[in-house]
Amino acid sequence: MSGQGQVSFRNIVKLHGQFAALKNVNFDIKPGEFFALLGPSGSGKSTTLRILAGLDAPTTGRVMIDDKDVTSTDARDRDIAMVFQSYALYPHMTVAENIAFPLEMAKLPKSEIAPAVKDAARKVKIDHLLDRKPGQLSGGQQQRCALARAIVRKARLFLLDEPLSNLDAKLRLETRAELKKLQRSLGVTAVYVTHDQEEAMTLADRMAVFMSGEIQQVGTPAEVFARPNSIDIAGFIGNPPMNLVPARYVDGDVIIAGHRLKTTATTAVERDVVVGLRPGALRMTEGGLGARVDLIEDLGDTAVLDLDCAGTMIRMRVADGNIPGEGDTISITARPQDIHLFDPATRMRL
């Protein structure tokens, strides 16, 4: 391996005319980390990846790889491998030629290229397809071919731009697991762009959550899940995501639909807040917040209830065997530490 694969983004701004695609983005990726750039479409995550790859230049700011400023280094001199969303396989070359291409460009002798190609193909289980053209492969096989082309070179950075989005659901889950194993076994730093929070949660060691051109939070999936920084992240992470309910904070309590709930979160004064409640953190109890069960989505081992709490919709996850009937009135509560408070004006965590 030619480098460690440590990445730093310093004050990166990208303007498209008047529109700011990225507004002052900063983050660091540690060597060997699986780092996800997560966010809805148009949030700037793909632009960030392209700037890291050297396919786009930032308007201002510095990109550092292994403590070297690469902001103005050509893409081909950055020692970065990338898997594109469309795979971008070369249609006129066979699978073997596709995989060999980066090695040929690196001017490796033929005697070294052939075994390296075989090895990379074996790692992604397409070594029986080496003589085919990309057009003769299935979507999953094309995806593997793109992966093989990226790993064959042993670059210091491995970029993946929504690599699973063109696969069907079953294949996506399988490939997801394999991808993680592959990255671990190679020990290479991986940067992974996705809009699928579940993908980011399961794959990433750490992730950066993008919202409208800014990083709103960087952390491990568990951290981001446990303490989302903003209303936008809270509403984006988790399936179903956090309930966000307007409420009033009074002296250590929040008042939702006339009912008081204790919270460990504090804010200085009595004020309006947005309360965040994970569907899985809600429990049924005596004398809690009254709610009518509007709809039950049975997922097999659990069910998601759509509850009507005096006009506010709240979703709650309950274990199987504990499911009330539709139309029943139940009473719910949450532990004080599971109640998150957000500022309705700044949309940030309190």
Binding site: G54, R76, Y90, P102, A106, R153
Partner: protein, 279 residues
């Protein structure tokens, strides 16, 4: 007869009429080229006659042999095609891919040159060539042909280049390829259908060109299209020989057409179905 069969039959009949209208002059030339001069002028026209190679022998090896003219045509057409392609491929790539000031204007200019009536610029071209002493030279005629073939070739090729996804090129850059290497190894192999089509069209245009050739050529450089008129004079027209030269001049065109047919058909349908023309 069912309605469907009737429709097929009608379509076939119409196609036959078109085919006949298109093929008749060619068939007629071939027939005439195999006749003697008296047979050509016989009335009513003879469909049954004793074929002879006399006309071919005369135009190829007789006193007014057209072999030098065929050679001229080959030099002009091949030269025009090579120079055109060498310049058009990079130019089309640049127009399709790079962002630069005046790109829109350059694209329009390329197209606008195709809209000029050729007759309108013969005299200026003649004067320019005469002033630099290039009348009746290969370089002169090729230069003038370039002024038409180059915009045409660029315009044709741009659409092929635009068809290639940008990500393919970016993947090549990240794989360590330079821009030139990407063009050579990744892009050009994928537009070879388009290049074949363009080569054929450029060659044919140069091969068949008459208007400029007749004005700008002379005794040294005289392509076969011009030389054919040696057989037409005030007193008489040597129909059999004229037909024989026509057939000879047609031959390379036909051969090229047959060889490149696959590419041409592919090239013409490119873009009809997304990605359909490339693989």
């Amino acid at each position: 007869m069912t309605a469907k069969r009737l429709r097929v039959f009608a379509l076939l009949a119409i196609s036959m009429i078109f085919l006949l209208a298109w093929a008749f002059p060619i068939l007629w030339s071939v027939l005439n080229s195999l006749k003697t001069d008296s047979d050509v002028l016989a009335y009513p026209p003879k469909l049954v006659f004793a074929p002879t190679w006399e006309a071919y022998r005369d135009v190829l090896f007789g006193s007014g042999s057209i072999l030098p003219n065929l050679l001229s045509s080959v030099i002009i057409s091949v030269g025009t095609t090579i120079v055109t392609m060498l310049m058009a491929v990079p130019a089309a790539y640049a127009l399709a891919r790079l962002r630069f000031r005046g790109k829109k204007f350059a694209g329009f200019y390329v197209l606008a040159t195709q809209m000029l009536p050729p007759v309108g610029i013969i005299i200026p071209y003649f004067l320019v060539l005469r002033n630099i002493g290039w009348i009746d030279t290969y370089q002169g005629i090729i230069l003038i042909y370039l002024s038409f073939s180059l915009p045409f070739a660029i315009w044709l090729l741009v659409s092929y280049f635009e068809d290639i996804p940008f990500e393919m090129e970016e993947a090549a850059y990240l794989d360590g390829a330079s821009r030139l290497k990407t063009l050579w190894r990744i892009i050009i192999p994928q537009v070879r259908g388009g290049i074949a089509v363009t080569v054929v069209f450029v060659f044919l245009n140069a091969w068949n060109e008459f208007l400029f050739a007749v004005v700008l050529s002379g005794n040294t450089v005289r392509p076969v299209t011009v030389a054919m008129f040696n057989f037409v004079s005030v007193e008489q027209t040597l129909w059999a020989k004229l037909a024989a030269v026509s057939v000879l001049a047609m031959l390379p065109v036909v051969v090229l057409g047959v060889v490149a047919q696959k590419h041409i058909v592919k090239g013409l349908t490119v873009g009809a179905v997304k990605g359909g023309g490339r693989r």
